[in-house]
């Protein structure tokens, strides 16, 4: 894993001291709320519906066991004994007190963590494939690129006050497990015909109130040109992005209004000005950073096959475990989607168990996923049963990854001050309705995603079934989208029509699922059937009672 250098450590600890002084000045009244608010937001501290909320950055979703234990300790010491994994791979605490936050940040700094740039109109935490470094289909580990971007974008003076927030995601496989085309910039590491490695650059994706799928800005960008080219892109955005209207301020709107062709010309013109590439990262520096992500000390093992007569374990093996690229090793997904909890919530006790498992079985490394689960990337296949047994004891053994109960869900009205409706109870009701594991297996891959308002933090636009919570005259109702796809075939769902009460919604979803099972052909997943048969036929069963 990457280790902070002295510069990082100094920067983070001086930020902690600075924020401590700012909090003191706020408490003494030297700073008003209007003055303090932007300062606390720069340190990831929001004021939510019932309390403050602290968002901690988890760069590219990689944590070591020490960091995970620290998060558990913070949850106990300063919060209510749990944390929440977000769709951007970060961790949120729902109940901290302002007076404790400087101490929390200090403790985080002691394990090389912080909350900088988890809010505000800056370049946010860079996200990536949760299987990075472990999965066979990758061209290379995408995390050195993420780390280069982290170093470049952290406290970048020119990009601290962009027109709006800016999100970047990086993958290195054809399979997209990081939703790169719903990001302001998405980077796909590719190999060209000449055998050189570089980037396909996507721009202008985003969800929120105006969902847009990112378009190709550059088909192949040589590796060494990464930072200068992104610098040029950000400059164009910084210069022309709309600051007059918050809802039109994201780069996606600029790209839409300019047109991708003209936008590309502007970027290339700016880029030409930047040559010589004085901020390009030298191959030596790339090599130095890449060293930190060297594969762990794998043993020389043969592939083994693990089978079981225990149906729950067999299910877990089938849905939660993938092959690691090294023989004899596996990637284990730990589901944070038990039936009756909030998706992505993890108690301090569970965090400690995950940390212990990582130490014992996964070279001390853990990943957070945008799907709001955890991953142990480097597990000896013959240890799977041992791990499973320990997960059973910790109530983290659901074998439901990628299935209908593996729901993405934002905090919604239960916690969020911007919400229009609740989302957690809806996800719980869906999980309850479809809990029977046999039935989940029959339904197969299904991505349900729920947001509690149009900001779309719960990714509902790209759910196979997407649900948006709204409110009218004091009553919650839920609008349904179908046909979205968060994979490399990124697609936005279509709105079906007027919304439903929660109860009607669950019945409607059940009718759509049953309809799919009735009409599906061969190995079709739900999304494949929607594509083949069209949204209309699903709409008919959804609105059959209406």
């Amino acid at each position: 894993m990457y280790r902070y250098d002295e510069f990082d450590a100094d920067m983070v600890s001086s930020r902690v001291e600075q924020f401590k002084a700012q909090v003191e000045r706020r408490l003494s009244g030297a700073l008003s709320e209007a003055e303090f608010r932007p300062l606390r937001l720069m340190n990831g501290l929001y004021l939510q519906l019932h309390a403050y909320m602290l968002r901690v950055a988890v760069p590219y979703g990689t944590l070591n066991s020490t960091q995970m234990r620290k998060l558990a300790e913070l949850a106990d010491k300063y919060d209510r004994g749990y944390g929440h994994i977000t769709t951007r791979q970060n961790v949120q605490f729902n109940w901290p007190e302002l007076t404790d936050v400087p101490d929390m940040l200090k403790e985080l700094a002691s394990v090389e963590m912080h909350a900088i740039q988890t809010s505000g109109n800056c370049i946010r935490n860079v996200t990536s494939d949760p299987y990075a470094g472990a999965i066979a289909d990758e061209i290379e580990d995408p995390r050195p690129t993420c780390e280069i971007l982290r170093q470049w974008s952290t406290l970048h003076p020119e990009f601290a006050f962009l027109p709006r927030k800016f999100k970047i995601a990086v993958i290195a496989s054809k399979k997209d497990r990081a939703l790169i085309r719903a990001h302001d910039i998405g980077l796909e590491i590719i190999e060209n015909d000449a055998g050189d490695i570089g980037y396909r650059v996507y721009v202008g994706g985003g969800l929120g109130r105006t969902p847009v799928i990112g378009q190709v800005l550059r088909d192949f960008l040589p590796r060494v040109e990464l930072l200068p080219y992104l610098e040029a892109t950000l400059r164009i955005y910084n210069r022309y992005g709309r600051r007059d209207n918050k809802y039109k301020a994201r780069i996606k709107i600029l790209v839409q209004e300019t047109g991708i062709e003209d936008f590309r010309k502007q970027v290339e013109a700016e880029y030409a000005e930047l040559v010589p590439l004085d901020i390009a990262v030298s191959p030596e520096e790339v090599e130095r950073i890449t060293q930190y992500f060297s594969p762990p000390d794998y043993k020389d093992l043969e592939d083994v096959e693990v089978k079981s007569d225990d149906p729950a374990f067999a299910r877990w093996l089938k849905h939660n475990v993938l092959e690691n690229k090294t023989p004899g090793y596996s990637i284990v997904n730990i589901s944070l989607k038990p039936k009756d909890r909030a998706p992505g919530d993890v108690t301090s006790e569970q965090m400690r168990i995950a940390a212990d498992l990582a130490d014992e079985f996964s070279f001390s490394e853990i990943r957070t996923t945008h799907q709001q689960n955890l991953v142990l990337p480097y597990v000896e296949t013959q240890e799977l049963e041992n791990i499973y047994k320990k997960l059973v004891g910790a109530k983290m053994s659901e074998g439901n990854i990628g299935l209908i109960s593996d729901i993405i869900c934002c905090p919604g009205m239960d916690f969020c001050s911007l919400a229009t409706a609740r989302s957690i109870p809806v996800s719980q009701a869906i999980a309850e309705r479809f809990w029977d594991p046999e039935r989940q297996a029959v339904i197969g891959e299904m991505q349900i995603k729920i947001s509690g308002c149009i900001n779309a933090c719960g990714h509902h636009h790209v759910g196979h079934i997407g649900i948006l919570g709204l409110e009218k005259a004091g009553v919650e109702f839920y609008q349904v989208k179908i046909g979205g796809d968060p994979s490399e075939n990124t697609a936005l769902g279509q709105i079906t029509g007027p919304g439903f009460s929660q109860e009607e919604l669950i019945d409607g979803i059940e009718r759509m699922v049953d309809h799919y099972i009735e009409i599906r052909e061969d190995e079709e997943r739900f999304i494949d059937t929607v594509r083949r048969a069209g949204v209309e036929t699903f709409k008919e069963v959804l609105y059959v009672d209406a």
Partner: protein, 107 residues
């Protein structure tokens, strides 16, 4: 309608979050802040509302609370009109904290 200045309709209550812990509070008949909505002062009397407004501003200047604002209250139920405000009164309908033993939680 909810606003820092009173522009609402019908009975009003004044709410804010405390600066130190961020928790929701409502102004009481004693012109104190309480975490219990059941103790909230609810009134249509313009004189009292004016006084509430100045207490709100004072508390903000004294750094006790953040961003006080008036909310409309339903005459019959005594609950806030807006759905969001009902939720601030009720608290989360689900909180993972309920699964964590109380002795290891700070709050």
């Amino acid at each position: 309608m909810s606003s820092a200045k009173h522009k609402g309709k019908g009975p009003q209550s004044l709410t804010a979050n405390t600066l130190r812990d961020g928790l929701s509070v409502w102004l009481t008949a004693e012109f104190d802040w309480s975490m219990k909505y059941s103790e909230a002062l609810i009134t249509e009397d313009d004189k009292i509302i004016e006084k509430m407004e100045s207490i709100g501003e004072e508390s903000e200047r004294a750094n006790d609370v953040v961003a006080p604002y008036f909310i409309d209250v339903e005459a019959e139920s005594g609950l806030p009109v807006r759905y969001r405000e009902k939720f601030r009164v009720r608290g989360p309908s689900y909180d993972t904290a309920t699964l964590v033993p109380l002795d290891i939680q700070k709050v």
